[in-house]
Amino acid sequence: MREQKINMQGITKVYATDEMETHALRGIDLAIYAGDFVSICGPSGCGKSTLLSLLGLLDMPSGGSYQIEGKEVSGLSLSEAAYIRNEKIGFIFQSFNLIDELTVFDNVALPLRYRRQAVPKAELEARVMACLKTVDMTHRAGHRPNQLSGGQQQRIAIARALVGSPALLLVDEPTGNLDSRNGDAVMDMLCELNNNGTTLCMVTHDPRFADMASRKLHLLDGRILDADGTPLLQQASVDQQHAAPLRQVAP
């Protein structure tokens, strides 16, 4: 049996303002296993980005349980969440989000520099260069992000996401800012990483890239839809979500 990396049960996210509440996620059950390549798609406003933020501990759920490698993480402090994010999760953003002032090397090294235990310099260099080699960008190590093309920047972003050996790679519209050639190259790279055992969870609009995943999840109005378009969760109301039995999405 494969190791369970992610286990979400009854996850909700509510954004509240003075006037109204917006239910972005209405009880998400989701399990991701080692080596999975899960794609999440759905129309705008369905909650894809919110789900990705919760998966990446960028935000905390309003309700439900969330475990990473068996450890409950839904109630962590910001500092503890940062440690988990640093050690277990790698991010690839649509707009790369490299830091302009740092070189390519330093951008990639950044997660290691935030480690709880300082990484020895030699090991850090070796890991950074290894990641850059994976994305075929070692020759650009001393450059600044603004000296690179979009495709190159995204490859650097992938290297940065990999350098910490995360349990899960979260990918947000990786090809959104790239032309088709560079987009295809990045997707090929991600597939190759998955083939080599990296667990991936990707948000995308593009059905072509969504089909490349081993599991496709459709989101609508904050719920995961079944293959026939009905929500997997059958509770009558959102209020009952926490109490209701949860069904796990089978791999």
């Binding site: 933020s53 990446g56 501990l57 960028l58 935000d59 905390m60 910001l78 500092s79 969440a81 940062a82 440690y83 994010r85 640093n86 050690e87 790698g90 991010f91 953003f93 649509q94 707009s95 790369f96 989000n97 830091i99 302009d100 002032e101 950044l110 997660p111 935030y114 480690r115 940065r160 910490g164």
Partner: protein, 824 residues
């Protein structure tokens, strides 16, 4: 074009950013208010017209007493000689007056004998200054010098407070000394009396020059500081010609008077000076008020720099709103209109607050600075000040708007739109951020260092012990109501003085037996008098007949009770004996400063000093500790002090703790010895000293406020620039947090990054301060540097940087990373 909708929107936006709005309004209101107040003060003193017609033709003349080498010994006037000049008149004058011997006297026609300020003058004074009269008339030409007409004009204040505003007083007599004066006029309360004897000097009675008893007693060449020869020139350009015309006449008359009196010694002379009235009234306040104006301008500039940072920070926060506006089709000028409307709202509020602050400043100035600055009572709203305040506000508004306009990068906003709100955010280079921080720290450090240096100097002066006891010590002014005919022989006068001296000694001995009195002394002066004067002048020669060894001291003639009464310790030698006081033995007690001047080791007992006029030898029998009371306004202060044994007519009392003695009790006691002596007034020496120290206290209070304002400004500015810097980095920090940076890591990183520009700012500030210090070496300003004045600002800057770093990033690190990534 700005519409009312823009203002409504601006008001709503500011209501959602109360901290920002309050900070901007308070900072600008406070500093602009200070600048407005200082502008008005300078306007009143330097530019506002005097309340007299044709002020350019009005002059106030006096003389300088010159040493044999031609250098000015002291500004004085020669009352009798100037009276002769007055009587000769000049064809360059259209009017003239004598004005002087401003003093206190008791109104003896009233049962409680109130002490009132009076001055002697001639009819021209009331003409030239157009004294408005509530009732009666001014002095007439028939009451000029030599007429001996006992008439008086009194103030409306005195008329109301002491005579119940009785109209029948006109034509009645009031008793001052031995003379009954007929009241011929009551000067209206709106009479703007020219404050020639100090900014806070007012008079309640004006008497004719002929009854000027103090001057009558002077020798023909006698000198006094208490006199002005006032004149109105026919032509304002004739001032120097008039001065040159009178100068030789005055000196010739002076020399004649000295020859007639067989006055030997060095050849002193007098030099006549005719000064524009405005200049005399201004006194030495011009430099002080201009410095105050410059200081307040610097404060406003620093505040503006701080506000600039805050405004930039807000603009960075508003980028998302502007992006949306641009998406909806807003052009650059639409966005600027919003910004300008918001600035207008802020500046209007700041301007209103500034007017309130300025009013408060006027009250404080009128409260604390009336003795040092002229024309404070005239401070208030006036058109030039209003226009100045509005012009400065407008300039600031336009300046800030221009700044934001430059900052507003429409193209970047468009790019933000293209990334559909998921954009990479604007990343501003660290170099620009660090430059901003460095500039802010440099300003803050300079401001804090300057303020702290001045504060430490003021506090040191306040902490300094003054060198004599003041608690329960009182100065009693006595009035001799005996007739003092001017034409008595010197022998008769000497006999009268001997008799008065004997009576005063009896009074002192009686007082020493009084159950409320611990000690009593008869001296020429109290250690600090009600008018700030602490002693007369004396001149001694270190070697007999050697005028070049002359040195001047501040001398008190006193008895054996003086030094013990004021706890003034004798460092060497002994006190006077009763016998020495009675016989006026030529011995001296001097202070440590003079002792060290005479002999480097300060051992001077037995040494002799010689009278500068008659070469009489004085033996030094004691040395007292120095005293450290700053000079009162307008009073010359010398470091050297001497005490000679001779009882004088200033009664000094030390009461037993908790006991009191009033005028009535003292008068009853005086009556036992002499019916001619009355208590004129009783002054607390503690109060006298506090009055003199008020300047230092005021300086300390002002500089403490300055340090606090500097600290607040520095904090606001540093927070503004750091907040701005963090806002620009919000997205970048979000990315860092997304890949695992903890809140403490972000804070630590910010602190370490901020310390570099902070250090750079401190270095630049240090260099500028050194340059400033070197520049000040070429001025008359004396700067004593203190280590604390450097250490405290350094600590404060580090504290401010740490706290504001935390505050500026707190909003980001206390929320999950997604908020920063989404620009929330």
């Amino acid at each position: 074009m700005i519409s009312s909708k823009d203002f409504t929107t601006a008001l709503y936006a500011l209501s959602k950013a109360k901290g920002y709005a309050v900070t901007v309004v308070l900072t600008l209101g406070l500093t602009l208010g200070t600048l407005v107040a200082m502008f008005n003060l300078n306007f009143q003193i330097l530019a506002a017209p005097l309340p007299y017609p044709e002020e350019a033709r009005l002059i106030a003349a006096t003389a300088a007493w010159l040493k044999p080498d031609g250098s000015i010994n002291r500004p004085v006037a020669t009352p009798k000689v100037i009276t002769q000049i007055y009587q000769q008149s000049s064809d360059k004058l259209s009017d003239q007056a004598l004005y002087g011997n401003s003093d206190f006297a008791t109104l003896r026609d009233l049962p409680h004998s109130p002490s009132i300020p009076l001055v002697y003058t001639t009819p021209g004074y009331m003409r030239m200054y157009q004294m408005p009269l509530l009732h009666g008339r001014a002095f007439s030409r028939e009451e000029d010098v030599g007429s001996q007409q006992p008439v008086a004009v009194i103030s409306e204040r005195l008329w109301r407070s002491q005579y119940n505003a009785d109209p029948a007083l006109l034509g009645q007599k009031i008793q001052i000394g031995q003379i009954a004066f007929t009241v011929v006029g009551i000067a209206a309360a709106n009479f703007a009396e020219p404050k020639l004897f100090g900014p806070d000097t007012v008079h309640d009675v004006w008497l004719p020059w002929d009854f000027n008893g103090g001057f009558q007693l002077l020798s023909p060449s006698g000198l006094s500081r208490n006199l002005y020869y006032l004149a109105q020139l026919k032509n304002a350009n004739d001032r120097l010609a008039f001065e040159l015309e009178v100068r030789p006449q005055l000196d010739a008359l002076f020399q004649q008077a000295r020859s007639a009196a067989n006055q030997g010694g060095p050849k002193f002379s007098v030099r006549f000076h005719a000064t524009p009235l405005r200049q005399v009234l201004e006194g030495d306040s011009r430099q002080a008020t201009l410095w105050m104006l410059a200081g307040s301008l610097v404060l406003l500039l620093i505040a503006s720099a701080n506000i600039t940072n805050l405004i930039l920070s807000r603009a960075a926060r508003q980028q998302r709103t502007m992006t949306i506006q641009a998406a909806l089709g807003a052009q650059r000028h639409h966005l600027l209109a919003n910004v300008f409307a918001e600035l207008c709202v802020l500046m209007t509020a700041a301007l209103l607050l500034a007017f309130a602050i300025a009013q408060l400043a006027y009250v404080l100035l009128q409260w604390y600075a009336t003795t040092t600055l002229p024309r404070l009572q005239e401070l208030g709203f006036n058109l030039p000040t209003m226009l100045f305040a509005m012009a400065i506000s407008l300039l600031l508004t336009l300046g800030f708007a221009q700044l934001i306009s430059r900052q507003l990068n429409y193209r970047v906003l468009q790019q933000n739109l293209q990334s559909s709100g998921k954009g990479s955010g604007v990343q501003i280079s660290s170099r620009i951020r660090q430059l901003l921080i460095s500039a802010q720290v440099m300003l803050a450090a300079m401001l804090l260092v300057c303020a702290c240096q001045v504060l430490s100097q003021s506090l040191a002066q306040l902490r300094q012990q003054i060198g004599f006891a003041t608690a329960d010590r009182y100065q009693v002014l006595l009035e001799d109501i005996a007739a003092n005919p001017a034409n008595v022989t010197s022998e008769v006068r000497a006999a009268q003085e001997r008799q008065r001296g004997a009576e005063l000694l009896q009074i002192r001995d009686l007082l020493l037996q009084h159950p409320a009195i611990a000690d009593a002394s008869l001296s020429t002066n109290a250690p600090v008098g009600f008018n700030g004067v602490s002693a007369g002048f004396a001149a001694y020669l270190r070697q007999a007949n050697q005028q070049q060894t002359r040195l001047e001291t501040r001398e008190t003639r006193t008895d054996q009770h003086y030094l013990p009464m004021f706890d003034m310790p004798l460092l060497q030698g002994r006190n006077f004996t009763a016998q020495e006081v009675a016989s006026q033995t030529p011995v001296l007690i001097i202070n440590q400063a003079l002792a060290e001047q005479l002999s480097p080791d300060g051992k001077v007992l037995g040494q002799r000093l010689y009278g500068s006029g008659n070469n009489q030898a004085f033996e030094i029998i004691g040395v007292t500790a120095n005293r450290f009371l700053p000079a009162a306004s307008g009073v010359d202060e010398l470091p050297y002090r001497s005490y000679s044994p001779r009882a004088a007519d200033n009664l000094l009392l030390q009461l037993k703790p908790g006991r009191q003695i009033d005028k009535k009790a003292l008068n009853a006691l005086l009556q036992q010895v002499s019916p001619q002596l009355r208590t004129l007034d009783i002054y607390s020496i503690e109060h006298n000293a506090n009055q003199v120290l008020l300047r230092s206290s005021l300086a300390a209070a002002i500089t403490t406020s300055l340090v606090l304002i500097s600290f607040v400004l520095a904090t606001i500015g540093t927070y503004g620039v750091l907040s701005y810097s963090v806002q620009l980095r919000r997205f970048e920090l979000g990315v860092r947090m997304a890949i695992g940076a903890r809140p403490t890591t972000i804070l630590r990183q910010l602190l370490s990054e901020n310390l570099k520009p902070v250090a750079a700012g401190l270095v630049v500030a240090a260099l500028l301060l050194v340059a400033l210090w070197l520049g000040l070496q070429h001025t008359t300003l004396v700067i004593e540097l203190s280590a604390g004045g450097f250490a405290l600002p350094l600590l404060l800057i580090v504290l401010i940087t740490t706290v504001t770093s935390l505050l500026s990033v707190w909003d980001i690190i206390r929320k999950p990373a997604i908020y920063a990534l989404q620009g929330q």
